[in-house]
């Protein structure tokens, strides 16, 4: 079979069908793509299933809302209940890697030590994972963002951190040849971002894997306590209209559908792999909040890496600071007011920078549940007051950084506080005001722990290699396996764990 014939798209299906493979992988994001590629390179017959379509550059839309409507589940409008917070899940070949900013940060030692201690793990310390991180880094060319494409809005963050004596660094990313277009969230037109559809998926195909796109898995099949395959329907790209049915039989089934989808799939498959009662529990996020700062000098914000600089100074305190850019219509949503006030703020955008904080919220937990008549999940989550306080500290740190970098004002976007703050003294209310979750505008795309790993089968869904405790031949390779927050952006750790999972599966075949 030539490489081109190894991929099927929606228009290629003309009837119900059955397939067989040694390993079927459900989901082509950073977890599934790594597993599929590594197993194919190990000589295994691999079938990779993806519900979304592949996107080519001519499918990219530069407008933020229209792009999200095409690349995200629920049109990009998914939100939690309880504490209402927007969250997103991509639906495309390559998963979230197509539309994220490619940040690759290794989980800190102290986080992984805590994972091992709390989840009774034995082989998940940094020394255990570093070889897997290294393999992924080499394959993807992960490297610090070059200064030449940082742009002013990233370098001003460095200036602020330097002035305050905080550690900071260029963000390492899976990018080769970034040109600084700042368009990571709508698809990289330079093809510089090594998203899974440009890296691991083509490599898997070169090694013999087959890829079925527009293939929506609806159920995992189990016989005599062993996973034997999956069934589902072909779905039309963008509309989601269901078409032909399919069945895949395989010796090993890997679920990498994402932390918010894999639990739903297990629940819809008769409450599979849930002897521990932990499927769909422990839902965690990294709630993020951003502050916009205005500088006296132009920042020309359309140029520069989407997220080029970060500070890990406060990771032990529960938050990480980083720079941020997004399609302008998306981040302008954060600006307060309307009418002439809003237009005046919009006119200042050429002088602005946006920096954000993400918070590890170990006390803020939620659930994922299947809903009737849809594969989209019901998400319930509550932002714990202690974690709100941590986010408040993070906002105060961002305010300090902005003024240390020379900002003339900041726009914090917090209800009940002034719309604009012109000095650190004015911004002190960010530290001192009693804030509630409802006062903050937060969002999160980092989601974890809904099928967590645990050394004790009574307390977790998978073991530390990703194998389900209850069901032979069933593996999970998405961020659901994280025992808790990784403290930093999760993609790199997910890929390292998936790399390890692939090795474990190969050893069992």
């Amino acid at each position: 079979m030539n490489a081109a014939g190894a991929v099927r798209v929606f228009a290629d299906y003309d009837r119900d069908f059955r397939e067989e493979a040694e390993v079927v992988v459900v989901g082509s994001g950073p977890g599934g793509a790594v597993v599929a590629c590594e197993l194919a390179r190990a000589g295994r017959r691999v079938l990779l299933l993806e519900e979304g379509p592949p996107f080519t550059p001519e499918d990219f839309v530069l407008d933020g809302a229209l792009s999200m409507a095409r690349t995200m589940r629920e049109g990009g409008l998914r939100a939690t209940r309880g504490t209402v917070m927007p969250t997103m899940q991509a639906i495309c070949l390559g998963g979230g890697s197509l539309v994220n900013s490619a940040i690759c940060v290794r989980a800190p030692d102290f986080v992984l030590d805590r994972w091992c201690r709390d989840a009774e793990l034995e082989r998940t310390r940094r020394t255990d994972l570093d070889s897997h991180y290294d393999a992924v880094a080499e394959f993807l060319g992960i490297a610090p963002t070059p200064e030449s494409v940082q742009g002013a809005r990233n370098l001003l963050f460095k200036r602020g951190c330097d002035a305050l004596g905080w550690s900071s660094e260029p963000i390492a990313r899976n990018v080769r040849g970034c040109r600084g277009s700042g368009e990571c969230f709508t698809g990289c037109r330079s093809r510089a971002k090594q998203s899974m559809d440009l890296s691991y998926v083509p490599a898997a195909i070169r090694a013999g894997a087959r890829v079925l796109t527009s293939a929506q898995v609806r159920e995992v099949r189990v016989e005599a306590g062993r996973a034997t395959g999956v069934t589902g329907r072909v779905v039309e790209p963008l509309s989601g209209r269901a078409g032909f049915g399919f069945e895949v039989r395989a010796k090993q089934v890997v679920l990498a559908a994402g932390c918010m989808a894999t639990p739903v799939l297990l629940q819809r498959s008769g409450g599979l792999a849930n002897a521990s009662g932990q499927v769909g529990e422990n839902l965690q996020f990294h709630p993020g909040a951003a502050i916009l700062g205005v500088f006296p000098e132009p920042t020309n914000p359309r140029f520069g890496a989407t997220q080029g600089w970060q500070s890990l100074e406060f990771v032990r305190d529960g938050f990480k600071l980083e720079t941020l850019w997004a399609p302008p219509g998306v981040f302008a949503v954060r600006l307060p007011g309307f009418g002439p006030d809003l237009e005046r703020r919009l006119a200042e955008i050429p002088h602005c920078a946006v920096w954000d904080a993400i918070v590890s919220t170990d006390r803020s937990l939620g659930t994922v549940r299947a809903r009737r008549g849809t594969l989209e999940p019901a998400l319930r989550w509550h932002f714990h007051p202690d974690d709100v306080a941590t986010l408040q500290q993070a906002l105060w740190a961002l305010a300090r950084c902005f003024f240390a970098a020379g900002a003339c004002k900041i726009v914090p976007g917090v209800h009940g506080l002034p719309d604009e703050m012109h000095s650190l003294a004015e911004a002190d209310v960010l530290r001192s005001a009693p804030l509630r979750a409802a006062d903050l505008v937060t969002a999160s795309t980092h989601v974890f722990s809904t099928t967590r790993m645990h050394g004790d089968p009574r307390r977790g869904v998978v073991d530390e290699l990703g194998a389900c405790h209850d069901v032979d031949g069933l593996w999970i390779a998405d961020t659901g396996v994280f025992p808790r927050s990784p403290g930093v952006n999760p993609m790199f750790t997910l890929m390292a764990l998936a790399h390890r999972t692939a090795g474990a599966i190969a050893a069992r075949l």
Binding site: D12, P57, G75, R176, P237, P340
Partner: protein, 214 residues
Amino acid sequence: MLFWLVLAVSAVLAWRRLLHGYAPPPRPLARLAPREAAFLAAAAAATFPSGGAVARASGDAGIVLYVDRWLGSLPAQPRRLMRLLFAVMEQATLVFPAPGRGGRRRFSALSPTQRVAALDGWARSSLAPRRLIFASLRAIVTMGYFGDPAVMRQLRLAPLAVDTPVCEADLLWPPIGRPSSAIRWRPENLSPPSSGQPLDGDGPLHPAYAEERR
């Protein structure tokens, strides 16, 4: 008898309140009903009035057309929620009236000053759900405003032209909606990967955002 009379009068009043008197939109719309288009146009005009710091008024920016297109790209359930949001805000003056005479009229029927006051009430409400509804509406209108290339150009945010290399993936699948036989690239078409040459911030714009030639 009295019951039926009250019911009939109520039905007529409800019809007048909810559906009557909306002019057809100036351009045909695929998704938005005339009442939704009228509400959005009124909300957009209050959010981005003419004469502000950005020399592009909401009507010129085509916000209603943008929202119509955006709704068409959403799955059914979020689309229904968005339409519910429009309906709630259009009619909510019954519960949260705008100041002044006739403050309980539909939002789109309020005077420009009353619309601003009504929106301000939503934005600064002590009720978090009310603020959330306002933030959702303003997000939609704002994204529509930024959907206008002229706004993007004025704010120096219009995307730059970028050369897109042909890479291995382009040999593997076609654009969305096409069969695999439509893959147009061959190995001989592969081009060198991105050079990493930083874009010129003052360089040419993406064709969709470039100023129209007259």
